[in-house]
């Protein structure tokens, strides 16, 4: 890792309250040296972006278990572009069909984690997103 801990905001957007995954991944990230800003449930894309700016995060991690992923990913990406936050990584997890995983990545999502992804894979993939920034 770098000298400065990488900061990630983790939360859910919309009404889906399945928070098992974000709770577990938050803990795994903290155990691996990341600083996690836990945003909890019922956020809007605007609020997540606003918090991301305020907290000066390096990445945003959100999860969707009810099929809302394309609807909200689109909004997040638009906002990130508008605010010129291209260096903030966008990570999405949850119940996401394979074709949508490709779709999300094509739209600019940096990493997608579906159910059963092992801890090691998640941490390695996220570490790799910052590989070029490691001194």
């Amino acid at each position: 890792m770098t000298l400065k801990k990488k900061r990630i905001i983790i939360g859910k957007i919309g009404l889906d309250s399945h928070d098992n995954g974000i709770r577990i991944v938050s803990k795994w990230l903290m155990d691996s040296g990341y600083e996690v800003i836990y945003a909890g449930l019922y956020n809007t894309p605007e609020r997540i972006i606003q918090m991301a700016v305020q907290e000066d995060v390096d990445a945003i991690g959100v999860s969707f278990l009810g099929g809302e992923h394309l609807f909200y990913a689109d909004k997040l990406i638009t906002l990130l572009r508008k605010k010129e936050m291209g260096d903030v990584k966008l990570i999405i997890g949850g119940v996401i069909p394979p074709t949508d995983v490709d779709e999300l990545k094509k739209c600019g999502v940096d990493a997608v984690f579906t159910p059963g992804t092992m801890r090691e894979t998640i941490i390695r993939t996220i570490n790799d997103l910052f590989a070029d920034q490691i001194s």
Partner: protein
Amino acid sequence: MNKKPIGSTYLEGERVPHFRSLSDFEYREIYDQSDWHGELPAPGVYPFTRGIHKDMYRGRLWTRRQQSGFGTPEESNERIKFLLKVGQTGVNMDVDIATKSGLDPDYPLAQGDVGLQGTSLCTYEDMKALYKDIPLDQVSSTLIIQPPYSAIIMAHYLLLARESGIPWERLVGTIMNCALTQYVGPTFQANTSFFPIDQAIKIGLDVMEYMLSCSPRWNIININGYNIRETGVNAIQEAAFSLSLAADYIKGLIKRGLDVDSFAQRMAFFSAAHIDLFEEVAKLRAMRRIWARMLKEKFGARNEKSLWFRTAIQTSALPLTAQQPLNNIVRAAIQTLAAVLAGTQSIHTTGYDEAYSLPTEESQKLSIRTQQIIGYETRVVNAVDPLGGSYLVESLTDEIEEKVWELMKVIEDRGGFVQCFKDGWVEEQINEARYKFAQATDTGEQPVVGVNIFRDEEEDIKINIFRHSFDMQTKRIQYIQSYRKNRNQESVKKALDTLYKLIRRQTEKNMVEPIMEAVSAKATLQEICDAMRQAADFVIPS
């Protein structure tokens, strides 16, 4: 990846990593008289260890009750009719998360979730569309909705029965109606963000009391132990949390002056069948015993039916995997078998596509066929409680019963389950359990085929995946907006004002009828909820 790899070389032979149960009981190598030598009362005899009925599935099979609901009420109506056609024997109506949060489809925070995890249902006309061509006196329906929204959906259902000329006494079914477990188990933020929790419990009790007075065959509450379990807690916690919560509701109804025998037989449970077969069977047998003893000894019930622990089962989705999804068919079949061997009243077999989307028609049909194969072909239904008397199952039943009582005592000493929930104690237990569960999969301590053992590295998923119709959300938003425009605004306002004033005055009056008035006046789900929220000075996330 596997820190404790499973020994699988040809020379050593293949061994599992340990012999503990999913809830951390150590299975012994062999069970004999030294483990269990108790008495075993017959099925249908107190404390009902062997089942609540003397003849069990010889008398009638369990109800096949697959949850269904997505998109518009019209789409869900088609799916319900499909399920009934392929052999489903009860309706299990699930609403979307917006409806479960008391929000109309055009509320900004709700728009992305409309119709996704259930059907969008916010007006009386929606309920009519959902049950089109399904006579309410010919099916038993489970309505998956919690208070205070349960009062509104129940009002829709009762009004529909009235309009169809069906007396309420003839309705058969269940309203889930539990204020603490319906979202995703008893997690704090989800259950406290859209309505004040005490008011929600109060309105839940109103619904129970109201249904007891007018619809004697209706089940007034289903304690959702399934959702409790799906957070990652173990079998002991699932049982103890569910039964402790039930005790709180019983106390609430007794406090209203109701006799325990007037309502206990209308209370039921919704439990999980996880993947540890014997432990799940033992859990359900233990829960039957605890319920019977609690009702008789603690609450003084005299009617035998009050002592019957009745439960619906859903096969747990936690052991199901996105990897090698066809494996889930096998898992769900074994879990369904566990539910049958435990003597449950109804079953939802979870679809193999659970880790990808809502179930397709194909997947739901397979779930029903799974149950039919177990019911009609395997002969496991021929004898009542076929595992009864097994040293292992009986000793595990005793052990689980003891542990559940212990945990229930802890909860009672802390003021009951509702209090523990409000204090954040439940949240702590859940968080601890879900980390532990995730850790167990991560380390390989809990082997999961296709995930931490026997993986296919370059897997290409080939199953069909359910897709929502593309304009469904827009349609629902347009529908509700035009609904609000085309009605008599004066009568809506009047009904909502009445509701507001009643809540404002903190009256003890039962709210079901005022809510029914508002529904009849064409107030929408969210309008009714907002009137009550404003009266309680409660602000929801926007």
